[in-house]
Symmetry: C2
Subunit: 675 residues, 2 copies
């Protein structure tokens, strides 16, 4: 299977000598490594040197020379006193006019090299450049939901490149993948689905040790720790024990011995991700234990090897009855985990989804952020576009992620702390923290199905490394790298489409934070009542008067899971952000929004607008014919934008008709709403 180099093309810039000199690119041609001690032992050292040399040769046409006589014009150095782990500084402001990449450690140097190449590939001048990059998050992780049969749960980019036919794949693409994600700062990867079933349970047995170790070693060259998802019932399924009770001495001992065996075979393993008591997966609840019991038991077993246990908080009643209006799935994460705050060991990290439901196009921030004050926390986002168009629709998610990271939780004593401050460990001085994304990759030629979806992979890495980046700048950077050789008009158009894509998707799908309204199971396409009477706790409660879930103190009381003033902000319909209005309140169709429009007119307007914007993306793209250097990529995107435009019309019509049929109010602008 062929595959592209995505944003690592390093297309030749074809610059004149003068241009090279103006941008100080000539300084890249001779380099020295000034603190080679220790560095040489690092598995990524050789790799970063060759990446640098090949990258520069590819971009500028000359291969850099490594010199040892003090004649270098670029210096690579490691300085353990600089910044923190993985930090680097790119500095072209030194008096002698030449450059230096100084890093805290070898991995920092690796990131510095990739960054330097990105800067050159996007044509930025090095003259006067000084970039200090201290990573925002200790853990910058991808969660792959790949199954060992080669399928990918919520995968929209082909089959797995980690597994096929219950075998672990280790090949050239493994390396290409590691290089790709390391280039944007990813330092941890979970390769198997959080739903650990059948063969995947055996990843921690000698059936797979050789291949898993081989994978972990390739990853290590790129500064990436390999993690595995774990089956909490492994003591039963593998060990033949009667139970997997986390307080049972036999179980404790089984895990202790199992981890000794695993780490002996795969010493570089970062740790484990666990989905327990969630959507039918086994967990401590079976034995009347809580999640701290479960997580800590595993944490003790991996502690001798420096292993981490990443424990998901996606625990809710997935057998709800729609007639039950007291139970609120949104409350469940907080209700289950808040009482455990302070009970988790230092090598446990709770992985919390960005919102309380499940990766909808718009959700409030999960109330565990700001709730928990004595627990390691990671933010989980999803760049696999499960609910945001499944990589058939373009939906650039960095603006959403940025809003989440910038949300102030008002923790007592940390009133200014944002989600970014919490997960980074800055605010609470936690032992561990970070950010994970459910990955959007597969063995499709272009890695992500939709070529434009790669912006989410690139962008997630950049944002995880530096939560202060500007989504539009990242989009531009990615477009320049990926579509190198295309016209400026094309790059501008791509950035414009990306930046307008999430708002457009939100407009033509479910309104004002209510979410869902998708087809059950596969989650693609509109189905307003698809989940309305199902067991998943995802209801919109639309009737002849209005729509929305009352999550105030008069309803489910979910608003009170937030700190003040957030709790009051959401509680009161006047102060509740309108983009989340239906998430928190039941609102009549004739309610007047701040725009002066009624709710029903807002629904009609946004749906007509959203579909029009999707049509606009397609029109824009058609005008770019001949302006995109990679013609196959042009055709692929054209096909997907066509699908999106059609699907957006279907969304528009089904949503509009649904609400029209509910309330009988006509569109003020007289547009076609089917009866």
């Amino acid at each position: 299977m062929e595959y592209t180099e995505a944003w690592l093309k390093y297309r030749c810039l074809s610059l004149s000598r003068q241009q090279c000199e103006e941008k100080l690119y000539n300084s890249l041609i001779s380099y020295a490594v000034t603190s080679e001690e220790g560095l040489k032992e690092s598995p990524c050292f050789a790799m970063l040197i060759s990446e640098f040399e090949q990258g520069v040769e590819s971009l500028l046409g000359s291969r850099p020379c490594r010199v040892y006589d003090g004649s270098e014009t670029l210096r690579f150095a490691v300085d353990p006193t600089f910044g923190t782990q993985d930090a680097y500084l790119i500095d072209f402001t030194q008096k002698d006019g030449f450059g230096a990449v100084t890093a805290h450690d070898a991995k920092g140097l690796l990131y510095g090299v990739f960054r330097l190449l990105q800067l050159v590939a996007t044509g930025q001048t090095l003259a006067g450049l000084k970039q200090t990059c201290i990573p925002s998050n200790p853990l910058r992780m991808l969660n792959h939901w790949d199954n060992m049969d080669g399928s990918i749960e919520r995968g929209y980019s082909g089959r797995s490149f980690f597994f096929a036919d219950d075998q672990v794949l280790v090949n050239e693409r493994t390396r290409a993948y590691a290089r790709l994600v390391a280039s944007v700062g990813i330092n941890a990867v979970v390769i198997n689905n959080v739903n650990v079933r059948s063969a995947a349970t055996y990843l921690i047995t000698d059936r797979y040790f050789d291949k898993v170790r081989a994978l972990s070693e390739i990853f290590d060259e790129y500064g990436i720790s390999l993690y595995l998802s774990l089956n909490f019932a492994a003591p039963i399924e593998l060990g033949g024990l009667e139970v997997s009770d986390p307080l049972d001495p036999g179980v404790i001992n089984w895990w202790k011995e199992k981890m000794a065996e695993v780490y002996a075979a795969v010493p570089k393993l970062g740790g484990f991700l666990v989905k327990a008591d969630s959507e039918g997966r086994p967990g401590p609840f079976t034995y009347g234990r809580d999640h701290a019991d479960g997580a800590n038991m595993l944490a003790r077993a991996v502690q001798p090897y420096g292993g981490r246990i990443i424990w998901r908080c996606f625990v809710y009643n997935c057998r709800q009855d729609w007639r039950d209006t007291k139970t609120d799935r949104a409350r469940s994460g907080y209700d289950n985990f808040m009482p455990l705050d302070g009970r988790f060991l230092d090598n446990v990290i709770l992985q919390i989804k960005n919102g309380p439901m499940d990766f909808q196009v718009r959700e409030p921030v999960h109330p565990l952020f700001g709730g928990l004050m004595h627990t390691n926390q990671m933010l989980e986002v999803q760049i696999a576009q499960e609910y945001t168009g499944q990589q058939k629709h373009v939906c650039y998610l960095l603006p959403m992620f940025k809003q989440i990271l910038d949300f102030k939780t008002y923790m007592p004593g940390h009133e200014d702390a944002t989600v970014a401050d919490i997960i980074s460990t800055r605010a609470l001085k936690n032992a561990n923290g970070g950010i994970a994304a459910v990955a959007n990759t597969g063995n499709d030629e272009n890695w992500t199905g939709h070529d434009l979806a790669a912006a989410n992979l690139y962008g997630f890495g950049r944002l995880a490394f530096d939560t202060t980046v500007d989504p539009e700048s990242v989009a531009r950077e990615w477009a320049q790298l990926t579509f190198a050789g295309s016209t400026q008009e094309a790059i501008d158009a791509i950035v414009d489409i990306l930046m307008r894509s999430w708002p457009a998707y939100e407009k033509y799908t479910s309104p004002l934070g209510i979410g869902w309204m998708v087809n059950p199971n596969h989650h693609y396409g509109p189905n307003v009542e698809g989940y309305e009477f199902d067991r998943w706790g995802t209801y919109h409660r639309a009737n002849w008067r209005g729509i929305g879930v009352d999550r105030t103190t008069k309803g489910t009381g979910y608003t009170m899971q937030y700190r003040e003033p957030n709790a009051s902000m959401y509680e009161n319909v006047e102060t509740c952000p309108e983009e989340l209005l239906l998430f928190f309140h039941f609102i009549p169709y004739d309610y007047v929004l701040k725009t002066g429009k009624t709710l029903i007119q807002h629904i009609y307007d946004t749906h007509f607008e959203g579909a029009q914007e999707a049509e606009g993306f397609l029109d824009t793209w058609k005008k770019l014919e001949g302006q995109i250097e990679d013609k196959e990529a042009y055709e692929r995107v054209l096909e997907r934008l066509t699908i999106q435009a059609d699907s957006a019309v279907e969304w528009r019509d089904r949503i509009n008709t649904y609400f029209y049929r509910r309330c009988g109010v006509s569109d003020q602008k007289g547009r076609k709403i089917y009866e």
Copy 2:
């Protein structure tokens, strides 16, 4: 796999000599066959003799003696001048006080023997009995939708007993099945799914000839003709031809040679069932041909061997857009086939579903009945309870079938002719006709999943043979045979449950003929908008004012496919039968029905009543504990009635809530409707 004898238990009656004499059962003990010539050659002769002898021995405790000396008290005779094919007469009114079974042919004798045993098993007196049974329908057929991998499309009784792992099964159960269905007069069986895919395409090749012939020979002993479903694209898939165009000489010749080969190998084959141009199956439309071209081409190929082509009329656009209110799936059968009336060959029979949609709990009669006047026709019903509770709910369908058969179509010149008159060939003197049911059997121990569902299998056979039977009498007969040895109270209760089951199911599911409102794909359980925006043409168009499809001349014009006065009856809301009101008209919720109730109150009332009745079935059954002779059957039914009662509540609540949310009208009786 164990299996029951269903209604063929022949449980010992334990009668006294005096009781036997009173009922003339003693006459069964010595018999003669008075016209053995010709009979002996019939493959079913030996079988019917042993069935008679074993049945009587089982029921009465003594094995009948065959005598040759004129001392017989029962005479079996064949008289080709009596009645028509398969007809028989049971006569115990002869002056000498003894009995006779006289039949048109050996098969008639077979049916007479089974009937005689049924009469005895249900304890009816033979004294003075004279039953003339001339079959209403030439073809009395079962359509099995069994796939060769062993699954059954819309099967609710376990796996197939005809196929497993792409092999044809011929074993003891084959014979038990043939005996079971022959005992109620079935004379034709299609063993494979109408959707002919993969291995099933090869049933007409030497890969399967041996087993298919073996099957056909067993069937033949029971008077049953084996039919196969055919893949219209076989010339491409098997023959390697480029097309399967019915007017292409190569295709015509391929079929001609194929049928010569098939009939040489399986001479007793009755013919073929074809689903063409339907739900994605190949057909003549691909080549710009019509269904007469397709059916006649095949008919010519099988004509030399006496074969028949049964051609399904279930042809509609299954890629409809819900926004398109002009296309009406209900119209499609008539629109496609009416123009072809008179063009089909004599050995073609059109198989027409009972209603224009698809086996809903209530539909009007298909307008092709009464439309077509120069075409052989068969009625297709479904005893597999796809849309009527999937054999988890009890739903005795004979009362529905009876209504359909008794429907007057007002054909010109045949104003009194009912559907029964048409399919029997009586009205139009067609060359062929009959009735087919999609079968409800599988390899479950009790044949039909729900023990009470066997009443539909038994009843269908009885009704197919004699369309004048009374559904309640048939239900009682079946209950007495199946639950022999149970109390009279139990038999009465079973008959009562059966007779109330279809109305109850109708009450708690979709109202007044609108249909659907089921979960997509599997079709079990409520989902009011499950199909509302899908591609299948099955819409209810509910909005804030009302619900229903306008199929009058102001709407889709479907009403005009009926003859007058039916057309006007349906056209006018005042004369339209209320049980079909929403099928034909869009009706506001506040419309007042003939009961004086508004539509919305009618919906609430019927749903509360229906769920209560389902609960009542369960209560009744619980009271029968210890009164049902077969304890395992008692437990099985108990389990299913419990499921039904729960499901009926779910139906009630979802439907009521749906409509309450639509219109905001409260229940006048103040019962609980969830918001």
